[in-house]
């Protein structure tokens, strides 16, 4: 409840976080092979953002989320099985995707962004922009 700076782990924990992300990455690859892209995205978003200021951890997690994000073909279908609790964190990663400037990534992020905004409203965008502490 009392979220704050104390939740952040410092650099000596970075290795543990990287290991966790690597584990997550393997799980996502296996889910994608089984043609379960939404499950893969949920897995990617779980434990995100990695509660750290360490940029290496953040990029490692982004690579994993990006992998799952790009595998989504049916956006409407994705939302029918993605619970609202994932909306805020998904929005954050969509903005991270848009900030890369990479054409296919931006196309995909905009497509999801449109549908997500329909579902979660402007409040979701506000929450992802206003939160300067838990950056992804």
């Amino acid at each position: 409840m009392m979220a704050g700076a104390e939740k952040f782990v410092e650099a000596d924990n970075a290795e543990a976080i990287i290991t966790r992300i690597e584990h997550k990455s393997r799980k996502i690859e296996s889910l994608l092979k089984q043609n379960k892209p939404v499950e893969a995205l949920k897995t990617a978003l779980e434990g995100s953002p990695p509660m750290t200021r360490d940029e290496r951890c953040k990029s490692a997690n982004w690579i994993v989320v990006h992998r799952a994000l790009m595998a989504i073909k049916d956006v409407e279908g994705m939302f029918s099985s993605l619970d609202p609790e994932y909306y805020d964190i998904l929005m954050k990663y969509l903005y991270r995707g848009l900030s890369t400037g990479d054409r296919p990534t931006c196309d995909q992020c905009l497509r999801i962004h449109e549908k997500l905004t329909e579902r979660a409203g402007l409040g979701c965008i506000l929450r992802s922009l206003a939160d300067t502490v838990n950056t992804v």
Partner: protein, 377 residues
């Protein structure tokens, strides 16, 4: 119909307050003046202009029993206005601030008032009979940023504040000679002036608009991240609930009853939040004509043009109907609402409140005919 009266008083209104009998309304038309309008033969007429401040008046409160108006301004000063015959006579209150004053509230007993400021301080002002002078006592070094809102607990001692550092805090404002020991209750009974009772660290962005429930058991405040926070058992181990909503952030809140809160803000339409039997708060509905938009990306807000541009440029873009003027369809306020005031009379329950905002309107709302809300009122 929820809105019973709409008055276009100015281009823009920063804040407003009602006289004790609601026959007069005082507001600041976004400048250094306070205008007082009175209902004369079915028409609102300007009867007074309070001119003393040098800059925008950011807060007005009109005390219910003593009929005194307190105003604060970006010029760092405060005035207490007393009606003497036909005139309103100002008394300067030296706040000792080096930044703008942002908000003001009379305490329930009307023997003190609290001022929040951009100087990261809160001023508690009280009248000293022997010197014929309003004294300002400061709560310093507790806030890390501007104090955006202040709210008095019904016990006249506890004060809740919100700040742009994202936190909501509760302080004791006990002043010897002004407050009596009997007026204190429970855990706050031995706290000194300026002592922090609790700091609530729920929001990651600016916090605005704090209020206590009528009993003082629940505290509600809003964050600039489209969240509203409800806190029970304010003290060493508070119980907090975060409610996220799909609309633009709120600026101010008002407790209508222990179980119902009205929020107003950038979405231009009042929002009703209520607690169910188990005490879980949730968004119930909008007030007024506007329906909760669930169909298509039509956002009635200042964002809509930006949205049109965003999707107009996207390869998988939509038709152009996403571009619409920055005006809310069918809503009563046409811009951000930044002030909500109850229309309560002494010893008389009413279901009315008023709102004002950047569109210069003062709107009076009545919840009398809302059957779906009658369980919460």
């Amino acid at each position: 119909m929820a809105a019973v009266a709409v008055h276009q008083f100015a281009q823009c209104i920063t804040c407003h307050a009602w006289s004790p009998d609601h026959s007069m309304v005082a507001f600041c038309p976004n400048n250094n003046e306070v205008h007082i309008y009175k209902l004369l033969e079915d028409k609102w007429e300007k009867v007074h202009v309070l001119q003393k401040h040098d800059q925008i008046v950011s807060g007005i409160d009109w005390s219910r029993r003593s009929n005194r108006i307190v105003t604060v301004s970006h010029d760092r000063n405060s005035y207490v206005w007393n009606q003497e015959g036909p005139e309103w006579v100002p008394t300067l209150v030296i706040l000792r601030l080096n930044r703008a004053a942002l908000c003001v509230q009379w305490s329930p007993n009307e023997n003190k008032f609290a001022v929040g400021s951009g100087a990261k301080t809160v001023c508690i002002c009280y009248y000293e009979q022997e010197n014929n002078w309003w004294v300002s006592k400061l709560i310093r070094k507790k806030h890390d940023s501007s104090v955006t809102s202040v709210a008095w607990h019904p016990n006249n001692i506890l004060l809740a504040t919100t700040s742009t550092d994202g936190k909501c805090r509760v302080f004791s404002t006990f002043i010897k000679g002004v407050d009596t020991r009997e007026s204190k209750t429970g855990s706050s009974s031995d706290s000194k002036f300026g002592e922090q009772i609790v700091q609530l660290d729920l929001s990651f962005s600016w916090a605005f608009g704090v209020k206590w429930s009528p009993s003082g058991n629940t505290l509600a405040y809003v964050g600039h991240n489209s969240m509203i926070y409800f806190v029970d058992d304010v003290g060493p181990s508070p119980l907090a609930q975060n409610v996220a909503f799909r609309n633009l952030p709120l600026r101010d809140v008002l407790f209508f009853s222990e179980k119902m809160v009205i929020g107003v803000g950038f979405d231009c339409t009042p929002m009703v939040f209520a607690a169910d039997e188990s005490g879980i708060w949730s968004f119930i509905r909008f007030l007024g004509e506007r329906k909760a938009s669930s169909s298509g990306p039509k956002y009635g807000s200042q964002f809509s043009e930006a949205f049109g541009k965003l999707y107009g440029q996207s390869k998988h873009g939509l038709s152009n109907d996403t571009v619409e003027p920055s005006r809310i369809r069918g809503a009563i306020h046409e811009n951000c609402i930044n002030c909500i005031v109850p229309l309560r009379k002494e010893g008389f329950r009413t279901k009315r409140f008023s709102t004002s905002g950047l569109d210069g309107k003062v709107v009076i709302w009545d919840l009398e005919n809302y059957e779906d809300l009658s369980d919460y009122v």
